[in-house]
């Protein structure tokens, strides 16, 4: 019994929420790209760029504008997030250009982006900090307590000292869900991912919408990286994404290509992650807990858990010319 409660302790849940965030943000990105019909395997690389530029942005702001950073302590991490989002947008733009304009295989472009990001992060880190694998420490956002909820003693560890980025992430889930379900942009994006020819016939610009979806995925994956570097580790180090970009794809699939579903899946994967990080006495080696998300994803894809329903034109380049 005591063992069971240790699996659901409030501290464990709080830690699960923290490790859920980077998966969730990248997963939201994946949802936008794939709803528009573009698979973005490059999310892992974009997250790497996000971790690096997140740390660099925050560090640079702190050293360049020390007085401003003193007065408003949230400005430096904000600069980091913006730098990470910009880097994510740039990588998203490359992916969009290569896959939408040039109609190259989306998987290949993603693989190349992952390779590029790994090399670029090491290269730039050497140039800026004279070593390959680590940046100097950075400061994070000032944590906040959620009003009202913080007065409930049972929830205190969950709702006090929360990163503003966690709240942003949760808000983004709601906004994305609403945008995809209810707005003109969302409906068109989905149309373009389901049946681009029909959307095109009705005068929807397939290329523009797909660009928008991929750029959004870049921005969100960049932000996911920034969260890891700024809020979680408070520095950049090589390999810190640990394949979370791929886990995010898995969360998107498990979440059936919807933001709310991605939240649920990310939370589950984050829980596994937190479990393997804590020294809870587990009956199985931690390596097996680590791969639970991967196993679940395979089962979902194979339809053993429930049928995966991906956008019909997902991964298929669109061309107006007749072949």
């Amino acid at each position: 019994m005591e063992y069971m409660t240790s699996l659901f302790s409030v501290a464990l849940l709080a830690s699960a929420i923290r490790v859920t965030m980077p998966i969730l943000l990248a997963s939201l990105g994946a949802v936008h790209a794939e709803r528009g019909g573009v698979v973005n395997i490059g999310l892992e690389g974009i997250m790497i760029m996000g971790t690096f530029f997140g740390a660099v942005g925050a560090y640079a702001f702190d050293t360049r504008f020390p007085s401003l950073a003193q007065t408003w302590p949230n400005l430096a991490p904000l600069a980091g997030v913006l730098a990470a989002v910009a880097a994510g947008l740039l990588f998203g733009l490359i992916h969009a250009l290569v896959t939408i304009t040039f109609r190259v295989d989306q998987i290949i472009s993603g693989v190349a982006l992952n390779l590029l990001a790994g090399g670029l992060a090491r290269f730039l880190n050497i140039l800026l900090f004279e070593k390959a694998t680590q940046s100097p420490g950075v400061r994070g956002f000032t944590p906040i307590d959620i009003p009202l909820l913080r007065d409930l003693p049972a929830l205190r560890p969950l709702v006090t000292g929360v990163s503003p980025m966690i709240i942003t992430g949760v808000v983004l889930v709601a906004v994305s869900q609403w945008v995809l379900r209810r707005t003109r942009f969302g409906l068109r994006l989905r149309a373009v991912g389901e049946y681009p020819l029909a959307a095109d016939t009705l005068g929807v610009n397939v290329y523009h919408l797909r660009y928008a979806g991929v750029l959004l995925s870049g921005a969100l994956a960049g932000m996911a990286g920034a969260y890891l570097a700024i809020e979680q580790a408070r520095l950049y180090f090589e390999g810190m994404t640990q394949g979370r970009g791929f886990i995010a794809l898995a969360a998107m699939i498990f979440g059936n290509w919807w933001p709310v579903g991605a939240l649920g899946a990310s939370a589950l994967f984050g829980y596994f992650d937190a479990l393997s990080l804590r020294v809870v006495r587990l009956p199985v080696p931690y390596q097996f807990i680590n791969v639970l998300p991967h196993i679940v994803t395979i089962l979902v894809l194979a339809g053993f858990v429930r049928r995966a329903r991906m956008p019909a034109a997902d991964g298929v380049p669109y061309t107006k010319e007749e072949e």
Binding site: F102, V104, I108, L115, G119, L120, A302, G303
Partner: protein, 377 residues
């Protein structure tokens, strides 16, 4: 038209490599260096030293296997991103056979280790391919997931189950030593009479000629045999192939298994050819480089050899660039990524160009006189 097309096809990879070098030059310029100097240092370092030449060949060996493995899956419209995980499993199976069996003669032990590597990788690849053919699970995502599972499994097996007991208490986490009979023979003794010595010469092993032979066999197999014909039919028009009685699923399954079997051998150049044990820090990422090699080779088994050589060349050049031009060696990884992006875009543009040319030709009036053709109209 035919000749021009051939020239274009040959020129495309060259142009893509040049484009990649040009883009990397921008980065080199941005850090205040002369790109021409940097490239010159790389070429000089690579081509004027014996140790460099042999190091390039050593680095080329696993890339041939990895490139072939990826290319074979591409040939039947499957994308085996799982080469990475498959060679982890292959390396482990080979090491297991290598260190657990003792007293076997080399003629038996080494082939057994190679078979274990190929077989282990094939079993590992059964999951994605069966789920793909039977249940429609996309092989790209499932193989990526299998890579992570393979990596975690290896971590567990090396660290917790088969760790060399004599190394406990040291930071070295690795399996016991592989028996000498299971090691891949070095080409050093063959090269010594030619006056070639040194550790880089010793590293070169029998797997390099084996890889080249496999590439040649596969090239023959794919272009001259009945199965090769079926493979082309399935890739070109799956519906027509099916209608003609060629079982798509069986051809895809066979090629995926072949791909995985070759993938299983990728790690052996290092494990059985050099280290003699499987360390937790064994070389990783070769499966992903294999994707680049296959793309550059346009999935042609013979093309894989020069493509792997190029990547081996770049890999070795990275050390020279870092040491002699004092540019971080990661510039080469960036260059490799840029080359891939350039090459896929270039091939795509070429395909489009060919298509429009064909269309234009088809639209030409059939009454064109021989005289008009002779003037090149």
């Amino acid at each position: 038209m035919k000749h021009r097309l051939l020239v274009l096809q040959m020129a495309t990879p060259v142009l893509a490599i040049l484009f990649g070098m040009l883009s990397a030059s921008v980065i080199i310029l941005a850090i205040g260096r002369n790109p021409l100097d940097v490239y010159a240092v790389m070429v000089r370092f690579n081509l004027t030293r014996t140790d460099s030449l042999f190091s390039i060949l050593f680095k080329t060996t696993p890339l041939i296997f990895a490139g072939l493995a990826v290319a074979l899956s591409f040939r039947v419209s499957l994308f085996n991103i799982g080469v990475e995980g498959q060679y982890y499993i292959g390396a482990f199976c080979a090491a297991l056979v290598g260190f657990s069996l003792r007293g076997l003669p080399a003629v038996l032990h080494l082939p057994l280790a190679l078979l274990a590597a190929a077989g282990g990788a094939m079993v590992w690849a059964l999951v994605p391919i069966v789920l793909k053919l039977r249940r429609g699970a996309h092989e790209v995502i499932t193989t990526i997931m299998m890579n992570y599972i393979a990596s975690a499994l290896l971590l567990y097996l090396i660290n917790d189950v088969f760790r060399d007991p004599t190394q406990i208490g040291t930071p070295r986490v690795r399996t016991p030593l592989v028996a000498a009979a299971a090691r891949v023979p070095s080409l050093g003794p063959l090269l010594a009479p030619l006056g070639l010595h040194g550790s880089d010469v010793e590293k070169l092993n029998l797997l390099l000629p084996v890889g080249i032979v496999i590439a040649v066999i596969l090239a023959y197999f794919l272009s001259r045999t009945r199965f090769g014909y079926e493979v082309r039919a399935v890739a070109f028009n799956p519906l027509a192939a099916e209608a003609a009685g060629i079982p798509n699923a069986r051809v895809q399954f066979g090629m995926f298994m072949l791909s995985a079997g070759i993938a299983g051998l990728v790690g052996l150049n290092d494990i059985l050819g050099f280290f003699g044990y499987l360390d937790i820090d064994f070389p990783k990422g070769l499966g992903f480089l294999g994707i680049s090699v296959a793309l550059l080779a346009k999935n042609n088994p013979l093309g894989v050899i020069p493509a792997a050589l190029l990547f081996g060349f770049l890999d070795r050049g990275a050390a020279g660039v870092q040491f002699f031009a004092r540019v971080p060696k990661e510039i080469i990884v960036i260059l490799q990524a840029l080359i891939i992006l350039a090459i896929v875009v270039a091939y795509e543009l070429l395909t489009r160009y060919v298509r429009t040319q064909r269309k234009r030709e088809a639209e030409l009036p059939v009454t064109a006189t021989p005289a008009a053709e002779a003037t090149g109209r």
